[in-house]
Every structure is written in C-alpha cells, then in structure tokens.
C-alpha cells in the first residue's frame, strides 16, 4: 500500500465520522493549546510581571499605616492606629543602610493652567522621590530639599500633563493651579507610561505636606524606603520597626519589602503555571482515552469491513497500519489545532499587551506535535492490533 493511499483511506473514515472525530481530537487540541501557551508566554509572563513590579528596584520597603493581622484584614488608615507622619519619614532617613526615604500621598484634583483644566492624579512626594524610584527628570529639577513641613508651593509635571496644558510652550517658571492653589512649575518628568495601571505621566508631583493639606488627610498613605544594595534586609526591617515602634508606642504599621512581595508573586505565578500544565496534562490524558475508546468502537463497527479487506488481499500488518493511521490522524489533527489555537491566543495576548513577551520556539511546536502523535500511537495500538488479529472468516460473517 502506498503512503498517500494510507492517508486517503484513513482520512475517509475521519470524514465519515466528522462529529465524533472532532470531539475526540478536541481533547488533544486543548492539551496542546495549554502546553503551547505555557511555553509561549509562561516564561514571558513571569519576566513581565516581575519586571513590572521590580522596575523601581528591588531594594524597596513600603511602610503602610495599620497592622496586618494574621487572620483579619488591614486595620488601615481609618483604624485606631496612628497615622504615618512626615516626621516619621524624616526620622527614618538617619537609620544606617537607608539611602532614600519618600513620604507619599496620592489623590485626584483639578489642575489648571493656560485656561485649560484637567483632572489628574496629584502625588505628594519628597525630594528623594526620583532617587527612591529611579525615575528621571526631563527638564528643570524635581522638588527641592525644603524643610518637608514647610515646603514651598512647587510642582513637577508628568509628561502628559505638560503636553495637555503647555503644548509647545516651556512650562518652567509658570504658575499652575492645583486644587485651587497656586504652584510654580519647577520640573517636567520623563515619559514613563503606565505602571500597574497607574499612569505616571498623567500626574503632577507636589510636596507631600501640601498634598496632605490639599486632601485634608491626617497622615501619609505610605512611606517608601530605599536601602543599600547588599544590606541585610532583616536588619533593615528590624531597625525600621524599632524606630517606628519607639515613635508610635506600638506596632501600628506594616512593612512590605519588595523582595518578599516578589517572592510571593513568583510563587503565585508558579502555581498558575502548574495549574495550566496540569490542565494540559489531564486534557492530553482524556484525549488519549478518547482516541482509545473511539478506535475500539470503530473496530467493532467495522468488523465486516476488516474481513473484507483481508479477503481483498490485505495483510494483518496493513489492517494494523490503517487503524493506527486513523488514531494518529485524529491526534495529529488535534495537535495541529492545538498548536494554531495556542499560538493564536499567545499572539492575541501580545497584541493586547505589547509589553508581554511572546515567543513560541519552533522546536517546542514540533515537540508538542510529536507528543500529540505519540499519544495517538499509544492509544491506537491496542484497538489496531485487535483489528489486525480478527479472524477474517469470522469478521466477514458479522453484519
């Protein structure tokens, strides 16, 4: 029997039982889709999420008011805990191994300049904000190192705000109204884009104390601390905790080291990866069992046909090849569908989130198809052998 004829004959039964074949092949298809997604975006997703979280550097510790209870939630800003103050932030600057400290406060307000109005994020920050987060100023400078409690009314613009309000003009030195108060523009930030859904460019930066006043809040939302690379994190955490405990009288604040957060994030991603992998594995298993079932059915249904083929001169081995060919065709087409679906979803995700790296190595695609075919082969062997070993006379007698 020539190879194209083997394909033609196996394809004829595939087409004759279209619905059944599609259902059976879909198990393999879903499994291969999962496998391809894992290899195409699994690693990329890991890198993407981690880099989103770590682009400010990993030597960051966020301090938030309220204590995270083991079983409860965060008591939070409105709880009984004392607010984090600008003085707290000032005190932290003198601890060993601490490089930069930034008090932070965030809200929304209307800004107005040149007769144009825009509602943007107003971010209360300290002088060290850019150093803490490794951000760059494009023109002018960031907020000066004033006494934080009596900071002057200066503002630094995000690139988008500058674009919207001062298109084509130099904003430096001009005045801008933030929530009804006059601020002098001293700098413009470099474009940064969105970070975890927060548009850094559609933001204006004012001194933290003035932001507290503007939003009428008793304390900071967060203090960010940047410690020296290579410093012992536990030591730094202990020192901060001791200092703030002394100032507050109790531990009514929470430290969130970026490094720990990244670890948690990493393990969450690992779990997701594992779940997708397990889903893929189970689908492939189900697909394999499906092929075994459908081929067993096919052998029973087509017993007379098997007898006929033998009468027409088919060897046992040819019957074996025909049925094995059908099983492999099912799994190969299922695998191919899975490849296309997996690559399609991966590319679709890439189109939605361009920063998410997507890469399907050819070797993996070939390997996945090989796995699919192997499953068909393994599932088809038993039924195909049964078909080949049927007694031709007996087989011909069944109707």
């Amino acid at each position: 029997m020539l190879f194209p004829d083997l394909i033609r004959l196996t394809a004829s039964s595939f087409l004759a039982y279209r619905m059944r074949s599609l259902l059976t092949g879909s198990g393999i298809a879903i499994g291969i889709t999962a496998v391809i997604l894992l290899t195409s975006i699994g690693e990329g997703l890991h890198q993407f999420v981690l880099s989103e979280f770590s682009q400010f550097g990993t030597n960051l510790i966020a301090i938030q008011p309220g204590k995270t209870q083991t079983q409860g939630g965060n008591v939070g800003i409105f709880g009984s805990s004392r607010p984090l103050s600008i003085e707290d932030a000032q005190a932290l600057r003198h601890l060993p191994n601490i490089e930069h400290v930034n008090p932070s406060m965030q809200g929304n307000a209307e800004v107005r300049a040149n007769g144009k109005t825009r509602r943007t994020t107003v971010y209360g920050a300290g002088h060290d904000f850019t150093k803490t987060f490794t951000l760059n100023v494009q023109s002018g400078s960031f907020l000066p190192d004033d006494d934080p409690t009596q900071a002057r009314a200066f503002v630094v613009l995000g690139s988008k705000v500058r674009q919207e309000l001062y298109a084509g003009q130099n904003p430096l030195g001009s005045y801008l109204s933030v929530g009804g108060q006059r601020y002098r523009v001293v700098g413009v930030m470099e474009p940064k884009g969105q970070i975890l859904g927060f548009d850094m460019d559609d933001t204006v930066f004012i001194p933290a104390a003035r932001a507290l006043e503007l939003f009428n809040r008793p304390g900071l939302m967060e203090i960010q601390v940047n410690y020296q690379a290579g410093a012992d994190l536990d030591g730094v955490v202990r020192a901060i905790t001791a200092l703030l405990k002394e100032r507050h009288g109790r531990e009514d604040f929470t430290l969130i080291p970026q490094e720990k957060a990244l670890e948690v994030l990493g393990s969450v991603l690992d779990v997701i990866t594992f779940a997708v992998g397990a889903l893929g594995g189970i689908s492939l298993l189900v697909g394999g069992v499906g092929i075994l079932t459908i081929m067993t059915m096919a052998v029973s249904e087509r017993t007379a046909e098997i007898g006929l083929l033998r009468a027409l001169g088919a060897r046992e081995k040819q019957v074996l090849m025909l049925f094995l060919g059908e099983a492999i065709l099912l799994s190969a087409l299922g695998g191919l569908a899975g490849l296309l679906l997996g690559i399609g979803i991966a590319q679709g995700l890439h189109a939605l989130i361009p920063a998410l790296p997507v890469h399907t190595p050819w070797l993996f695609a070939v390997l996945a198809e090989f796995v699919a075919i192997s499953i068909g082969l393994a599932a088809g062997v038993l039924p195909a052998r049964r078909a080949a070993r049927l007694d031709p006379v007996e087989a011909l007698r069944t109707e």
């Binding site: 029997m1 020539l2 194209p4 004829d5 004959l9 004829s12 039964s13 087409l15 004759a16 007379a304 046909e305 007898g307 006929l308 083929l309 033998r310 009468a311 027409l312 001169g313 088919a314 060897r315 046992e316 081995k317 040819q318 031709p392 006379v393 011909l396 109707e399």
Partner: protein
C-alpha cells in the same frame, strides 16, 4: 489448478467438535465453472473460504497452481489472495464511505499498484460493468444490482485466476440475479475459474460441473 486432498475442517464450540468439512477430495481445472449446492450448514461457505485462503484446513493438503498452500503464514496467504483470488459475497460487502470507483480500486491500493495504472484499470472496469456514470456514487446511492456489479468489478480488478462467489444472487430479485450470473459466466469465457455457491438449482444447473454437499461431504457430482 485447485486440488484438495482429504481436506477436513472442524471447529471447537465449547467442548464440542463441529466438523464442517470431512475428507474432501476435489480437483478443479483452470477455467472450470463449478457450482456448489446443498442444504444450509452443509459446509459450502467453509469450503469456499478454505479455497480462498481465508481459512486453513484442520487436516489434508491444499494445492493451488501446483504449489502447496496448506500452511502459508498470514502474509503469504494475503499475497495469494491478492494475486489469484477474487471474492463476491451475498451481502456485497462494499465499504459504505467510499465511492463505487474507490471500492473497485481497493484491491489495487492494497497491492500497491501505481496510481496511473490503477486509474486505467478502474476506468475500464467501470465502463465494462456499465458503472461509469455511477463512479462517484456511494454504495447507499446504488441499487442492489449495481452494488453487486461494483463488487464483481472489484473482485476482478487484480485479474484473479479464481473467482469465488458465495450466493451472489441471494440478496437480489430473480431478474437482477440472472444478470449478475451472466456477468460472472462471461468471466469464465476469459479462463477465470468460477466457483459459485447457490441455493437455486436453476442457477446451479447452468454450471458445467455441479457439486452437491451434505453434512460436510461432496455426495454427488453432475456434469452437463
């Protein structure tokens, strides 16, 4: 051509031995036209399957074309079936999902005949059996007579020396049955050995040689 020496075939059913053929001695010359008749269960089909190498005798010797084919293995049996033997069945046995043309082509495909030669042969056969305009029809779109014509075309596609027909008219009305028989008889004129199993004495009587079987034995032979 066909020579059976004391051929017996028995089956084990449970702990019982059922003897379907008992010490059959039979000689059939090339180009013979032989009919086999007899009551149901007398062993006609069993004998045909043995001659067609779909089965093996329990004892005795079977020689085909002078060669001993009693103990061939599967691949050797298949080769002989492919090259020398054609089968026609009562229930047509067409593959339902394949067209008439592809059903006819099946033995050629299994034998690995190249595509171009296959095309020529299948077209000639379709023409011969008046099936040209039915070439792309599937079996369920054909009448009983047309189906059996496809089956005969298929059986002759490899130019077999022996044609074995087991009640080929059993599922056809009389007129169609007679047509089919005359198609088979035409083949004997081309020196094909035809062995025809039938229940119909009128049809069986047309053969040059008639065998009557009872209880696994050939009880009488008539020649006309």
């Amino acid at each position: 051509m066909i020579r059976l020496d004391k051929v017996s075939r028995s089956f084990t059913v449970g702990d019982q031995q059922v003897t379907a053929l008992r010490d059959i001695d039979l000689n059939i010359a090339a180009g013979d036209y032989v009919s086999i008749m007899g009551p149901s269960g007398s062993g006609k089909s069993t004998l045909l399957n043995l001659i067609g190498l779909l089965d093996r005798p329990s004892s005795g010797i079977y020689k085909l074309d002078g060669g001993n084919v009693t103990d061939l293995d599967d691949a050797q049996q298949a080769k002989v079936r492919s090259e020398k033997i054609g089968f026609v069945f009562q229930s047509f046995h067409l593959v339902p999902r394949l067209t008439a043309a592809m059903n006819i082509e099946l033995p050629l495909i299994l034998a690995g005949i190249p595509v171009t030669e296959r095309k020529v042969r299948v077209e000639a056969l379709l023409e011969n059996y008046g099936l040209t305009d039915r070439a792309d029809h599937r079996p369920d779109q054909l009448s009983g007579g047309q189906r059996q014509r496809v089956a005969i075309a298929r059986a002759t596609s490899m130019h077999p020396a022996v044609l074995l027909a087991d009640e080929p008219t059993g599922n056809l009305d009389q007129a169609t049955g007679r047509e089919v028989i005359s198609l088979l008889e035409q083949l004997t004129e081309q020196h094909v050995t035809l062995i025809l199993v039938t229940h119909d004495p009128a049809l069986g009587g047309r053969a040059k040689r008639q065998l009557h079987m009872v209880d696994g034995q050939i009880v009488s032979q008539t020649a006309s």
